[in-house]
């Protein structure tokens, strides 16, 4: 019976399954990095941290905050992408996590803005 219905209705294919198994949604286990690569990434993170600390000691004026924020973001994304494997993993994980992250940044930034700039 069930096989018949697929041919009768015009209504069955509104959209693709957003989470359907597509070739590139399957985890790329084989593309896993080797231990050496992780050590290298950690080393990069250390250098970035050192740069951050150094930057906070140098007179950079108004450039300091954006520079620090950019380096912070790079570190954040690096850990998430490689150590947490978001890069090679199914995209839905990135969606879940970054949805929370961007929502948090969005609402809290907006809320803080109402305190600092918009208040009469």
């Amino acid at each position: 019976m069930s096989t018949d219905t697929t041919t009768t209705g015009t209504e069955h294919h509104f959209g693709e399954d957003i989470t359907a198994i597509e070739p590139d949604a399957i985890p790329h286990e084989h593309k896993d990095l080797r231990d050496r690569d992780y050590v290298f990434i950690a080393f990069l993170l250390l250098i970035l941290t050192a740069l951050e600390v150094a930057a906070s000691y140098i007179e950079l004026g108004s450039l300091l905050v954006p520079i620090l924020l950019i380096m912070m973001a790079i570190k954040f994304v690096t850990v998430a992408s490689f150590f947490m494997h978001l890069r090679g993993d199914a995209r839905i994980f990135s969606w879940m996590f970054y949805a929370g992250l961007f929502l948090a940044v969005g609402v809290y930034a907006a809320a803080l803005t109402t305190f600092h700039f918009f208040a009469p």
Partner: protein, 227 residues
């Protein structure tokens, strides 16, 4: 078990033959279930646990976001009381940040070992991770006592309350992580981990890295950006 008892009358085809024939499952009909192995039986082919963990971490972003926002709002609310500029010891905090960052590396090495089904190295790396985490916590506690001795109690001012709450929440997360790591090491030792060991270790890894990236944010926003 009475629920599961099947009434033979229900089981027999009801009504005429026509619908039964209509609904009969052809020989060799494949409902797609039997070929799906234990690992990939879900609709998306992804692990339930891992999906749940990522959802949880997404949710945690809003928790830490709220605490960080509270701190950002209150960090220099009153110039006349003790503030961050008088207290920070950037070299020391950099060192503890370095330790936490390194624990992320050892964690990922532990996950790799678990994927190779190398229990011995998994236990080793998890233990090292827990130790580094412990060291970080010790650094935090030391830092708190220094601040406290300089006169910054939890109730001293808005900066103090929001700083201790934010960093304390992070510290609590680190502590939970350490407990999970040590419990996993113990369960690995006694072979009491259920299901997929590598996945269990990977979940703890995700949590641990999350704690690490929260610290990346805290370190920059709280410590490095001048008040």
């Amino acid at each position: 078990m009475s629920d599961a008892t099947i009434n033979p009358a229900d089981a027999a085809p009801v009504g005429s033959d026509a619908p039964a024939e209509h609904m009969a499952i052809p020989a060799g009909y494949d409902d797609g279930q039997d070929h799906i192995g234990l690992e990939h039986h879900t609709s998306t082919g992804l692990s339930n646990t891992k999906l749940a963990m990522w959802l949880f971490l997404g949710s945690e972003c809003l928790l830490f976001g709220g605490l960080i926002s509270t701190y950002m709002l209150y960090r220099n609310r009153r110039a006349d009381t003790l503030g961050p500029d008088q207290l920070w010891d950037i070299p020391f905090t950099s060192a503890t940040s370095f330790i936490l960052l390194m624990s992320s590396l050892t964690m990922v090495l532990g996950v790799q070992a678990a994927k190779r089904r190398d229990d011995r190295n998994t236990r080793l790396w998890l233990t090292v991770t827990a130790l580094l985490g412990g060291l970080f916590l010790a650094g935090q506690i030391y830092e708190f006592t220094v601040f406290y001795r300089e006169g910054l109690g939890f109730t001293t001012n808005l900066f103090a309350s929001s700083f201790y709450t934010l960093v304390g929440f992070h510290g609590a997360h680190v502590s939970v992580g350490i407990i999970m790591l040590m419990a996993t090491v113990g369960m690995l030792l006694r072979n009491r981990v259920h299901g997929n060991k590598a996945e269990t270790v990977e979940m703890i890894g995700l949590y641990w890295h999350f704690v690490d990236i929260v610290w990346i944010v805290i370190f920059t926003l709280v410590y490095l950006i001048p008040a």
